[in-house]
Amino acid sequence: MGLNIVVLVKPVPDPKEPPRFKPDGTLDRLAMKLALNPYDKYAVEAALQLKEAVGGTILGVSMAPPHALDALREALAMGVDEFVLLADKRLAGSDTLATSYALSMVVRKVWSNLGKLDLVLCGVESSDSNTAHIGPQIAEWLGIPGVSYVDKILEVSAEAVKVKKIIEGGSMTLLVKTPAVLSIAGTTYVPRIPTLRDVLSARRKSVTTWNIDEVGIDPARVGLLGSPTRVVRMWAAEVKRKGKVISDQDPDRLVDEFLEELRKDGISLR
C-alpha cells in the first residue's frame, strides 16, 4: 500500500539535565542542551512500525532554530527517512496557536509535494510545555480528522485507520478517515534504540530547511505578535492536597485502615 506519513517532532531541553530558568520563571532554552521530545519518540516508533508493516515513507517535520537539528537527528537515526525543518527568526515566541498554524502550513506544502498524505503523527505533548494542543489544532487548521491520546493504531487501509484511544477510565476504538492527525500517547510503542550504523547514516540523510516565506506562512500570524497567549507570570504550583500517614504494627490492620480511608473518599476497589 505504501503510506506517506509525516511525524512532527520538537526539540526540548534535555530532560536528563537539571532545568535552568530565566529570572521571569521561563525556561532558559539557550542555556540548556536540547534533545528530542521524549513523547515524540512514541510517534516516531508508531510510524516506523506502520512502515515496517505496510511500507511507505516517513517524513519528519519540525519548527525549530537550525542549531536544534543535532537533537532532532535522533529521529533520523531511529528510521525517519527525510526531514523538513522550518527555521525562521520571525517564529520566535510563537504560542501553540501560531505554532500549529505554521506547522499546518508546512504539512500542507509537504502534502502538495507528495501528492498524497495518509497520516500526521505527533507525540501527545512536549515535555517542556505539556499543552497537548498541537495535534488537535493542526487537524483543525487542515480540516481533517484528529484523534488525541492514541494508544495503538489497530488497522490501516487506503482510506481509514482504526485506532484505540485512551479515555478517562478506559479506551475507545475509532475508525477514522485518512488523512488524519493522530497524537500518540501511552507506551505501546516502545521507542527503539537506534543502531550505531543508523546513527552514522542519519548524518547522510536529507534535511531540507524552509523559511516562512518559502512555505507561504503569514508573518503576522506567527511569532510573539501573532500569538494571543500572554505569559504573565510563572510560579510553582502550590500543592494543597495533604498526605495522611497510617501506621500500625499489624499489616492486616494497616491494610484495613488504608482501605477504610479510601472508602471515606468514595473510592471503591474491585
Partner: protein, 401 residues
C-alpha cells in the same frame, strides 16, 4: 591537544548509554549470580552494531577508530562495572582487528564479516597450563597437512569459551579464538604462528573454571584434539605469531586501561552517593574529611588513568595512520594498563571501605567492580610484564633480562 569529542561520537555514546542504562545496569547483579550475560543482551549488542565497531566497512563493520571504540566501551563499563560486557567487547574488538589486519582475504570474507555482524565472537588463546607471561613455554603445535594445519594441545584461563562453543545461544555461529601455536618449536618465539580456531569444532573440548569475578563472561580451558583448520585460518605468516600477538595485546591493554579507569570512576560515583545518604556520628559520612580527601585522591588518579587510557587509544590510531611506531605504542599501552589497574584497585578498595559491610556482598556493584578489576593483574599481560615493558623502553633492552 583537544579533549572534545565530535557530535557523531557524542551521538554514538548516547545510544550505548541508553542501552546500558535501560537494559544492562539493572541486571548486573544477575550476571554475576547466574554466571552469564542473558543472551538477549548480547543479541541486542549485536543488533546495535557493537561487535562491528572497528572492522572496515567493506567487511560489514562501522570502520571507526580505536578512540571511538573506547568511547563506546566506556558506556558499556558504566552500565556494567562488573566488566563482563567489557570483556565481550574488548577482546573481540582487539583480536578481531588483529585477525582482520593480518588475515587472508578468505578469512575476512568468512570470519570477519560474521564477527562484524555479531554472528560470531572472536577471543584470544595464548595462555596454557604451563605458559603465561613466558609464552615460549607453550605446547600447542600446528602441523601443515595438505591444504591446512592440524592443531593439538591445551589452552587455559581463556575468556569466552562457553559463548564460542555453544552455537546459537549468544552468537548465531558461536565463535573462535585467535590461538598461538608452534609451527616450528626449534625456533623459539620465532617459530610461533597464530590461527583462528572455531571452538564449535568437535575436536575442541571446553572445561569451565569458576571465575573469581566478571562472571558474566565465561572463563576456562579448551583442549585441541587434532583439529584441522584451513590454511586461510592462519593469521599472518608462519613464525610471526608472537610479534602479531604482541600487537594485539597493545590493543587489548589500551581498552583494559579504559575499562579499569571507568569502572573505578563509576564505583566512586556510586560510593559517593552512598556516603551522602549514610549517616554516622550525627552527619552524612560524606561530611568527614577522612572520606573527602580519599575520594579526591582516588578520583584524581582515576582521572589521570582515564586520560592515559585515551592516550593509548590515540597511539593505536596514530600507528594505524603511520605516525607512531610499534615500540612507542607498546610503551604507552603498557603504562596505561599498569597505572589504570593499580589506580582502580586502590579506588575500589577505598570505596568499599566507605560503604561498610554492605560493600562485602555479592549484590554491591562496587564489590563486583573490585573483583573484575583484580582480573587485570593478569589478563592480557601481568602487571609485572607491564613494568618490564616500560622499563625496557625507557632504559633500553640491554638492561632487561
Amino acid at each position: 591537544m583537544d579533549f572534545t569529542i565530535t557530535k557523531e561520537q557524542e551521538e554514538l555514546k548516547a545510544v550505548v548509554r541508553e542501552f546500558a542504562d535501560k537494559h544492562v545496569f539493572p541486571r548486573v547483579v544477575e550476571f554475576e549470580a547466574n554466571q552469564e550475560i542473558p543472551p538477549e543482551i548480547v543479541k541486542e549488542m549485536a543488533r546495535l552494531g557493537l561487535f562491528g565497531v572497528v572492522f572496515p566497512e567493506e567487511y560489514e563493520g562501522l570502520g571507526l577508530d580505536p578512540i571511538t571504540a573506547g568511547l563506546v566501551l566506556e558506556e558499556l563499563v558504566r552500565g556494567d562495572p562488573e566488566c563482563s560486557l567489557a570483556v565481550a567487547f574488548l577482546v573481540h574488538t582487539s583480536w578481531g582487528h588483529i585477525a582482520c589486519k593480518y588475515g587472508s582475504e578468505e578469512l575476512k570474507e568468512d570470519v570477519i564479516k560474521r564477527a562484524a555482524r555479531g554472528d560470531l565472537w572472536i577471543g584470544i588463546a595464548t595462555t596454557e597450563p604451563g605458559a603465561g607471561s613466558d609464552l615460549t613455554g607453550i605446547s600447542v603445535t600446528a602441523k601443515k597437512e595438505g591444504e591446512g594445519y592440524v592443531l593439538t594441545g591445551e589452552k587455559a584461563y581463556i575468556s569466552g569459551v562457553k559463548e564460542a562453543k555453544e552455537k546459537g545461544t549468544w552468537f548465531k555461529d558461536g565463535g573462535g579464538h585467535v590461538t598461538l601455536a608452534y609451527t616450528d618449536k626449534t625456533k623459539g618465539h620465532r617459530g610461533m604462528t597464530l590461527f583462528f580456531i572455531p571452538l564449535t569444532d568437535p575436536g575442541i573440548t571446553v572445561r569451565l573454571e569458576k571465575e573469581f569475578g566478571r562472571k558474566g563472561w565465561s572463563f576456562g580451558s579448551f583442549t585441541i584434539n587434532e583439529v584441522k583448520v584451513p590454511e586461510f585460518y592462519r593469521i599472518g605468516d608462519e613464525g610471526k605469531g608472537f610479534y602479531i600477538a604482541m600487537e594485539g595485546f597493545d590493543h587489548a591493554r589500551a581498552y583494559i586501561a579504559l575499562t579499569c579507569a571507568v569502572a573505578g570512576k563509576r564505583a566512586l560515583e556510586i560510593a559517593a552517593e552512598y556516603t551522602k545518604q549514610r549517616r554516622a556520628f550525627g552527619q552524612p559520612i560524606a561530611k568527614f574529611q577522612g572520606v573527602q580527601f580519599q575520594l579526591a585522591e582516588h578520583w584524581s588518579r582515576l582521572e589521570a588513568a582515564h586520560a592515559l587510557a585515551y592516550k593509548a587509544l590515540w597511539a593505536l590510531k596514530m600507528e594505524q595512520e603511520g605516525k607512531l611506531n610499534r615500540f612507542e605504542v607498546t610503551k604507552i599501552a603498557a603504562s596505561a594498563k599498569l597505572f589504570a589497574v593499580e589506580a582502580a584497585k586502590a579506588a575500589l578498595d577505598g570505596a568499599m571501605r566507605w560503604m561498610g559491610a554492605f560493600a562485602y556482598t555479592e549484590e554491591n556493584p562496587v564489590a563486583l567492580a573490585w573483583k573484575a578489576v583484580k582480573s587485570y593483574d593478569w589478563a592480557e599481560g601481568s602487571l609485572d610484564i607491564m613494568r618490564l615493558i616500560v622499563a625496557r623502553e625507557v632504559l633500553g633492552k640491554e638492561y632487561i633480562g
